[in-house]
Amino acid sequence: MTIGNAIPKKPVISIQSAWALLLCQMLSLLLLINELSGWMLAIIALCLCWRILVFVKPTQKPHRIILLLIACSGCIAIAITGKELGVLLSMLHLLCFAYALKSLEMDSRKDFYQIILLGIFILASVLIFSQSLLISLFIFCLLLLNLSILLAYFFPTKNVKQPLTQTTKAVLQSIPLAIVLFIFFPRLAPFWQVPSSKSAQTGLSESVTPGGIAKLARSSALAFRVKFFTEQPQYNQLYWRALVMDDFDGRTWKQSKTMPLISKETTHNIIGDVPPLIGTKTHYQVIVEPSYQHWLYSLAVVDAINIVGNQISILSLPNYTVRSSKPISQTSSYKINSYTDSLLNASLSNNERLKNLHIPKDSNPRLQAKALKMKELYPDETQRAQAILDTIREQSFYYTLTPPLLSGDELDQFFYQSRKGFCVHYASVFTFLMRASGTPARLVTGYLGGEYNKQSGHLSIYQYDAHAWAEVWVDGKGWVRVDPTAAVNPERVEKGLSHTIQQEGLFNNDLLSLHRYKHFAWINSLRLQLDALDYQWARLVLGYSSKKQYDLITQWFGHFRPWKVGGIIGGSLILMMMTLWLINIRKYNKKPIGKWLIQYQQILGILKTKGLAKPLTMPANQFSTLVIHTFPFLTFSFLAYTKCFEALMYQPLSVIEKEQRLAEMAQYHRQLKKQLKRVERKSAQTP
């Protein structure tokens, strides 16, 4: 049907567009580099390199059979690895594979359309894995690029810049309606179960082995953000509980398996057992980054009944932690009340007591002996705990993030030999000593502190804020928090870890992280600004839910009625169309102002300052005689100038003629300006 078909070997898109498309493909796939397996990346790189080869040598186009072979083998490879990849990643692999391969086979307009849509789908799938502001903006730019390549197909210019501005205009015009839809369009519950991403779990680990290395402390990735609606507790009280580890096998601490879950409903039933919450209420919202784990963060003691999860359902556990029913695979938030003054004194069953006293009989004999001795010296558990802390403080323990690896009776080795370690080491030793001396004790991991952002007033907690501390059971008081790390490194507890890391130069995971450059004041303030923006993005966009939508509509428009929503959306649609109509009318009525007219007006302006104004009704050539009369030395240039102007203004000229005239006129324009400047100087010199 089209002329394109008549000339068979004509490429579908111009070479510039093709390069832009390749760039777009590369950038899109680059965003998924963490999710794709190595062999897939290799195949994709091969396809894209081949594409470049085709640019250089169009005859090197791969044969259909070769393409088919690659496609088949790729699909088989994906099918084979499907089980370990999981459904979502397999689909993603397939999508990326198709996207890269398709660029080699772009023979018709249909192929071109497909590749554009595939590209946009890839962009959408990137958003499954990350929804931060930065990534979203980058995705938006790539979307623009994709669309402008599409537009360039219908645009008569060869460069990509003009389509890009056109597309940007169109997309910007579409944004208001998109926002209205986002705010008001009914938000539905998930239709069916979707495969969730099985990405590598981040953040805290399920178990803690003091002999391991501090990996967490080095990551400057964001763990979660907190916004306090009531007064913020003191920094050294911000112990964000995540996991309680009460199962110790001599080396490793982990959560005991037989943990009864308490949901909102069951809490109601056993409410008699839960001691009343006392003290001031701290109300706050937590926005968690995806960790692909179940646990969440809270300050003890949580009001189990008033937890409001946004897009997640949250359970409160008897060990004073909260937990999501599903792994956190995307930014989610919840609002929670904590009573930080309350005691953690739910009753301790006999079973629980035994579990929290358990230590393997033959592990760490020296510490066990020491524990027994201390029990004799300090029969009271509070005094004993204090004594242990004093020991740690007074003896030459050293806080470091790079402790030596331990083996055998690790805690013995740490306590009596290496004496170098971080929070996990101190908390483990302390808990072990308490248990060995007959007091129930357990290890708690989570985060400590956070970075306060003045601009939006929120607290950002990074992975390097991860911390471990101990809890001991004191009859009458319940579980009492003891942080042995404070004994060796009070600064860690008071100010946070980040500057310790700074000193030790341990931010080795990402060069690009702005955390590395905290010591430059402006970079730090920039980082905080970006953080504030990202927080708002997470709060307003990522945290938007059907409940918030309902609240918003009732707040703005009174009672919620479906027709109101319909009216709002319909109204804004009409508004948008009318705006576009007005824009078009303006564009249509605007007479194209030629460059020549602007230039001519400029010269007229200069002449006016010299005391020669052109009457509005006077034709240009009549005016030129007037000018010649006043400034005879302008005769030649002004006459020619006027002639050019008149030709451009009133004569129908072909494109080439027009360009010639314009060039000519520009030349005279410069000449006239120079000459007129001289007039000024002359007149200034004469008196």
């Binding site: 089209t2 359309y113 537009l151 579409s174 944004i175 208001p176 986002f182 966009v541 109509w581 249509y588």
Partner: protein
């Protein structure tokens, strides 16, 4: 081509087409100038447009199932862009003024160009033009101001045709929509017979009893045979000395004295008898030839004649007579 066409299907198609044409006639009446506006522009999503919409729904499902607000925002943005694109597509066509002459002339078996004047005050892109099932004229450059383009049409046989409505369409801006209009300039296309050169071979004349009557027919006494010269390609074949050619003396052309003022008659009956259409085609060639040579000639089609003359008007008149034969006048 499919040999079996469902007659019922064909009939229904025909019926729909007729209804549509009748409706179009009322909606967009014929005129020599059309200004495109919401009265005569149609707009529909293309297949790609529907695919895009399906894709937006897919994104929405993805976003809902993952409860992912950013993907949701993306899907809303794309849905909104769909509407923006619709408006842009419409405004790309709206406001264009198209005009064309009513009467167009051309030869059969040749592309006949219909000049269409387009004027647009601001920039327009990706315009395509065509008549029903004919070759498409695509404007690869953007249009601003006035411009004339040529849309071609093709006919196999002579006659007077109405090419019907001109389809103007564009898929700007993202290929999601096709905006089109079918405007009627009430074009009347006179198609002259295809000009076929009278064969130079002898065979074509041997069958005819009036083989050389072409020459004899010319009014006697007006010009005298003067000399024979070597035939130059392009000289009227009527002046070839066939007798000499038959004797093997090569192709020679007869030249006459007072040639300029002479009058010739082109007669339908004088043409080699290969059927009327063929004869008309030969005549068409002759008319062109004579006109080119500045020869005064008349045309006799048997049921009426055009008296000898030599002018552009006369030439056109003769061609017209050939086109509409056996009718006398248009």
């Amino acid at each position: 081509m499919k040999s079996t066409v469902n007659p019922l299907k064909f009939f229904i198609k025909h019926l729909i087409k007729r209804r549509l044409n009748r409706w179009l006639k009322r909606r967009i009446p014929a005129a020599s100038q059309h200004k495109l506006s919401n009265r005569n522009i149609f707009i529909m999503p293309t297949r790609f447009g529907y695919l895009y919409l399906f894709f937006v729904v897919l994104l929405f499902l993805l976003a809902t199932n993952y409860q992912n607000n950013v993907i949701m925002l993306l899907s809303y943005l794309m849905a909104s862009l769909f509407i923006t694109t619709m408006m842009h597509s419409f405004y790309n066509l709206s406001g264009i003024v198209l005009s064309s002459d009513k009467k167009i002339k051309g030869y059969a078996k040749q592309n006949i160009s219909f000049p269409i004047k387009i004027s647009a005050r601001n920039k327009r892109v990706d315009l395509n033009f065509c008549f029903d099932d004919q070759q498409v004229t695509h404007l690869s450059k953007s249009v601003t101001g006035e411009q004339t383009i040529y849309v071609s049409d093709f006919y196999d046989n002579r006659g007077v045709y109405h090419p019907g409505r001109l389809k103007v369409w564009s898929e700007y801006s993202l290929g999601l929509f096709i905006t089109w209009t079918r405007i009627d300039f009430d074009h009347e296309c006179t198609v002259y017979p295809e000009a076929i050169r009278l064969n130079n071979s002898l065979n074509s004349f041997t069958g005819s009893s009036k083989a050389s009557s072409l020459l004899q027919n010319s009014k006697p006494g007006t010009d005298d045979f003067f000399e024979l010269k070597t035939h130059i390609l392009g000289e009227p074949s009527s002046r070839i000395a066939w007798k000499q050619f038959a004797r093997g003396q090569g192709l020679l052309t007869k030249h006459y004295q007072k040639e300029e003022g002479s009058i010739r008659w082109l007669k339908l009956t004088d043409m080699p008898n290969h059927g009327v259409e063929k004869q008309l085609q030969y005549l068409c060639f002759m008319v062109n030839e004579y006109n080119y040579a500045g020869q005064i000639f008349g045309l006799d089609l048997g049921h009426g004649e055009i008296s000898p003359a030599q002018s552009e008007h006369h030439f056109k008149q003769c061609l017209m007579a050939l086109a509409i034969y056996p009718r006398l006048s248009a």
